[in-house]
């Protein structure tokens, strides 16, 4: 097989995968009505996707905020501008770190679990078993997981930012004696609700869509062998990270690049 043959083959393979995943996504959207009629399915998945990621997000948010507080004080004190610490911590968390880091953590914690779960269901023929019983596994198994991920990641990202800002307060104000009034008032005067917070939430909604989609599709599309599942899990984490960072650049350019 010569080089052109293999190049063409891999291009066609990638295109076919993109097409399959788009069809997969459309059929997930079609299942929304089914989910709304059976909220118990969604609540069960919200637990395993959202609640179990809760502590990871809380603790990493706290520490990211504290590191931002410490680094911010060291950098800003060379300009005598420690009072701007609040702006720095809040802007970087709300605009960038909150959505991006929580999406990366979410891909590692929940996305990989989803892929492995769906992949194993496929390998043990549970999905085909459901089809035999005239239950559509896309609706019953996969769609609840998709919407649970889609709902919980924006909530987790907001939590991450809020806890990070409190962490920045702990490190900057309690530990390094930045003035608490300056920390909060400077933050409030320069963080805009629509420009910063709403845009951050929009970012995390898009990341939620990306991560849940990639994780579920990789599981659904995995080779039904143990090696296939392990590869699919790896691909979920790697592709999610790529997609998150790429889309983060695009969204940042769209949202904050204009001014």
């Amino acid at each position: 097989m010569n080089i052109f043959q293999s190049l063409g083959q891999s291009t066609l393979k990638a295109l076919a995968k993109l097409g399959r995943s788009s069809l997969f996504f459309i059929s997930l959207l079609m299942a929304l009505g089914y989910i709304l009629k059976r909220p118990n399915l969604l609540i069960k998945q919200l637990y395993s996707v959202g609640v179990l990621t809760f502590w990871l997000i809380c603790i990493s948010g706290l520490f990211v905020g504290m590191v931002l507080g410490l680094q911010g004080v060291y950098t800003l004190s060379t300009f005598g501008a420690e009072s701007s610490l609040g702006i720095m911590v809040a802007a970087s968390l709300v605009r960038e770190l909150g959505p991006v880091v929580s999406a990366l953590l979410f891909a590692g914690r929940a996305g990989s679990a989803l892929t492995a779960e769906i992949g194993l269901m496929k390998a043990t023929e549970q999905l085909s078993g459901m089809e035999m019983m005239a239950i559509d596994p896309l609706k019953y198994i996969i769609a609840p997981r998709f919407f649970a991920g889609f709902i919980s990641l924006p909530l987790l990202a907001a939590l991450f930012s809020a806890i990070g800002i409190i962490g920045g307060h702990l490190a900057g104000v309690e530990l390094l004696n930045v003035d608490a009034g300056a920390y909060w008032s400077q933050m409030q005067s320069s963080i805009d609700f629509y420009d910063d917070i709403v845009n951050g939430v929009i970012k995390s909604i898009i990341f939620a869509w990306l991560v849940s989609w990639i994780a579920l599709f990789e599981g659904y599309d995995a080779l039904p062998t143990s090696e296939g599942i392990s590869r699919a899990t790896t691909r979920t984490v790697v592709n999610s990270a790529f997609a998150i960072l790429l889309f983060d650049f695009l969204l940042t350019a769209l949202m904050f690049g204009a001014n």
Binding site: I43, G50, S152, A158, I165, S189, D192, I197
Partner: protein
């Protein structure tokens, strides 16, 4: 029974996360300042808007009473037209109020400071502030100072 505790945990998670969103909106951002109880617009022409940005504060006596909404270049008079929105709670500002572009702190943001005049008429929607004072441009000030001191030495 197992479902019950699961539902409670999910409810707890969602409520904590929504509380975090509220915290971001109320405590971190200027959402409170957006409370809109009506406003009216006035405009002012400055020779130099130097560094004033849209959304900058408009304040009188050090209290924020409005925001700058637009800064345009006026091609007829070759100056800057600044349009600002003032809270309609403060509708009794005298019509000869003067506006100047000031800086909060040494390197802080620019804002528009209003100083009240003495007339009985008050500013209306769309009225123009006639008395303005431009932004202080540091380079110009320094060059003026240098020219003055060189004049003296001669």
């Amino acid at each position: 029974m197992q479902y019950k505790s699961l539902e409670i945990l999910v409810g707890f998670f969602v409520s904590i996360a929504i509380a975090a969103l509220f915290f971001l909106a109320l405590q971190v951002s200027n959402f409170n300042a957006l409370k809109d109880n009506g406003s009216y617009t006035v405009n002012a022409h400055f020779d130099d808007a130097g560094g004033l940005k849209t959304k900058a504060l408009v304040s009188m006596a050090g209290v924020p009473i409005g925001r700058v909404t637009e800064i345009n270049f006026d091609a007829r008079n070759f100056d800057a037209e600044v349009i600002m929105r003032i809270d309609s709670r403060y509708s009794t500002l005298p019509s000869d109020t003067s506006a100047s572009i000031l800086t909060s702190g040494l390197l802080g943001d620019k804002y528009v400071g209003l100083t009240p005049g003495g007339l009985d008429e008050s500013l209306q929607e769309g009225s123009t502030i006639e008395l303005t004072q431009s932004a202080l441009v540091l380079e110009r000030l320094i060059s003026q100072f240098l020219f003055n001191s060189s004049d003296k030495s001669e």
